[in-house]
């Protein structure tokens, strides 16, 4: 597994933090509730460990996620991941609906996709802006189901590789809505990313 020095990790954490901070601001604006945000945790893990059932990276075996693939100088996935109850609660809050047992039907999934889109765009927009890098993005994708099926969404060579994972847990205070913002970078992209960061910082 490739080693990354602490200084590089700090730089990546900083850049991710800028994006996540902006995303939290958007979420705060949407919900009108304070967002408690963790400092991004940066680790290098095999991709299959992220999507393994019962893993400790993403809590809960079932999830609702909005994902975005990106390619360019550096490539990877950006995702907002919610436990399904949190996803439903968040949509109900934003749509002002009151239902005894809300379920994520097609309309609410679209709404959740928009929320995920706003958060992810804030993260990726910030990173791309700060680094002045052009990235090509996929259309945002909604996924709901067992965590292990997430692996199917990536190419085989990525599934077998180690990736850099930046994970930030957020809590929408007073609403009991929580989730994770994930940035999964393909390890081959790391040098390019670090190079971009160093260029900007210089």
């Amino acid at each position: 597994m490739k080693e990354i020095d602490e200084q590089t990790i700090d730089v990546i954490r900083e850049i991710v933090n800028i994006g996540v901070g902006r995303a939290a601001g958007q979420l705060q604006e949407m919900t009108g509730s304070h967002i408690r945000l963790q400092i991004p945790a940066i680790t290098i893990v095999p991709f299959h460990e992220i999507t393994a059932s019962g893993n400790t990276i993403i809590s809960g075996d079932t999830l609702s996620a909005v994902l975005l693939d990106f390619k360019g100088t550096f490539s990877g996935i950006s995702a907002v991941v919610f436990p399904p109850e949190s996803a439903a609660a968040l949509v109900m809050l934003l749509t002002g609906e009151h239902e005894k047992s809300p379920e994520l039907d097609a309309m609410r999934i679209e709404a959740l996709k928009e929320v995920g889109n706003i958060i992810i765009n804030a993260v990726m927009g910030s990173i791309a802006n700060v680094l002045s890098e052009h990235l090509v993005y996929s259309i945002p994708l909604y996924y709901e189901g067992p965590i292990e099926n997430l692996a199917r969404l990536k190419r085989k060579n990525v599934r077998d590789e180690s990736v850099l994972l930046a994970r930030t847990n957020f809590l929408v205070e007073t609403l009991n809505v929580e989730g994770d913002i994930l940035l999964i970078l393909e390890i081959g992209s790391l040098e390019a990313l670090v190079g971009s960061i160093k260029r900007v910082l210089a």
Binding site: F70, M107, N117, M124, G125, Y137
Partner: protein, 373 residues
């Protein structure tokens, strides 16, 4: 520099797509407007091209919307506007004037060094209506379920109170009855004249009837208290037969094992009652037989004996409450127990040749060999 539309004639194919498609430049000017958009908005492509999308549709100027669209040309990913939050961002009407409910995606792309965005407008009206109708149905069903639960809880509570009241009343009456019967027994040892003796007998009979009625209320209270369950019929007969004082009477259980009936748990008492009645009133009876008959897919459980039988004019009367001399669970209660799950019972024997009780089970109330794989 050539425009993307001129460079790629394949853009014409987008006219065949039944969704609204617009292509804008980084200054938001429209460079492509497909046939669907022309139909939905009544604006021909030639009129739309070159105009500014943001100026044409003021809802796009809303700061929250606009700030997201601007990210497109700053290197950001696609931007989605859901039908829930933005149903009419680019208003498109139906022929009757109603607005379509839309989902809009702004997808950035670059071509020949120039920045563009493809705007995809999907008509979500039908889906939205279907989902709203489904949500309404679900809400009604949930309300009904809650109401039903409340009603069930109220009935359960009321039933509990009634049973408690019954139990206390029955206890108090029994106490008074014990006193009454005690004095009647003392009186029995006293010399009474003919008229007094007649009165004595009538009071004693009345006391016995009261006792029988009290016993009836106690038995009746248990019916329908527990939910019906699937029960093996052959086992029920065997269990009930062990409780009956059969003497020399033989019980022939020809019911196949593995035949389950859906019935109140008290059905075992029905079988007991049928056998007990047969022994008590059957006269020269020697055998009681249980069997099942299939009448065009309808199953009938038969209990028949070779005793005295039931007189023709009493066939229905035997199911009336108070009929017969014995206390305990009568045929009236047996009929009620069976009827909880739709099982009917009638007497069809030949007087003098034996009684025959037919219990007709609804198709959905009987199953065979459930446990066989």
């Amino acid at each position: 520099m050539k425009e993307i539309i001129d460079e790629y004639p394949v853009f014409g194919l987008l006219d065949l797509i039944p969704n609204g498609i617009i292509v804008i430049r980084s200054d938001y000017s429209i460079c492509y407007w497909n046939a669907c958009m022309a139909e939905w908005t009544d604006i021909p492509a030639d009129e739309a091209k070159g105009t500014n999308l943001i100026e044409r549709y003021p809802a796009l100027k809303n700061p929250i919307v606009y700030s997201r669209i601007t990210q497109l040309f700053e290197g950001g990913p696609a931007v989605l506007f859901s039908s829930t939050f933005h149903p009419h961002l680019i208003p498109c009407e139906f022929p009757n004037g109603d607005l379509r409910v839309e989902k809009i995606s702004f997808i950035p792309f670059r071509q020949s060094g120039r920045k563009y965005a493809l705007v995809l407008i999907e008509d979500m009206s039908d889906l939205t209506n279907q989902i709203k109708a489904y949500r309404t149905m679900k809400a009604v069903a949930e309300d009904q379920r809650d109401d039903l639960k409340k009603a069930q809880d109220a009935i359960y509570l009321a039933n509990k109170k009634l049973n408690l009241l019954n139990s206390i009343t029955r206890h108090d009456i029994n106490n008074q009855l014990t006193v009454q019967i005690g004095y009647l027994e003392i009186l029995e040892d006293t010399k009474l004249d003919a008229m007094q003796n007649d009165y004595f007998l009538q009071v004693t009979t009345a006391a016995k009837r009261i006792s029988s009625m009290i016993q009836f209320t106690k038995e009746y209270e248990k019916i329908g208290v527990n939910a019906p369950v699937w029960q093996d019929c052959r086992t029920l007969v065997d269990v009930a037969a062990r409780e009956v004082q059969l003497g020399n009477v033989m019980v022939k259980n020809d019911l196949a094992s593995g035949m389950d009936v859906f019935a109140d748990p008290l059905i075992v008492k029905v079988f007991y009652n049928l056998m007990d009645n047969a022994v008590r009133y059957g006269g020269k009876i020697t055998t009681i037989r249980f069997s099942v008959e299939d009448h065009h897919g309808e199953h009938i459980i038969v209990c028949e004996d070779d005793g005295a039988g039931v007189p023709a004019d009493e066939r229905e009367m035997i199911f009336e409450r108070g009929f017969g001399k014995n206390t305990g669970l009568g045929l009236a209660l047996s009929r009620e127990i069976l009827y909880i799950t739709g099982i009917t019972i009638q007497e069809t024997g030949k007087p003098g040749k034996g009684a025959r009780f037919e219990m007709t089970v609804p198709k959905e109330g009987i199953q065979f060999d459930k446990h066989k794989s």
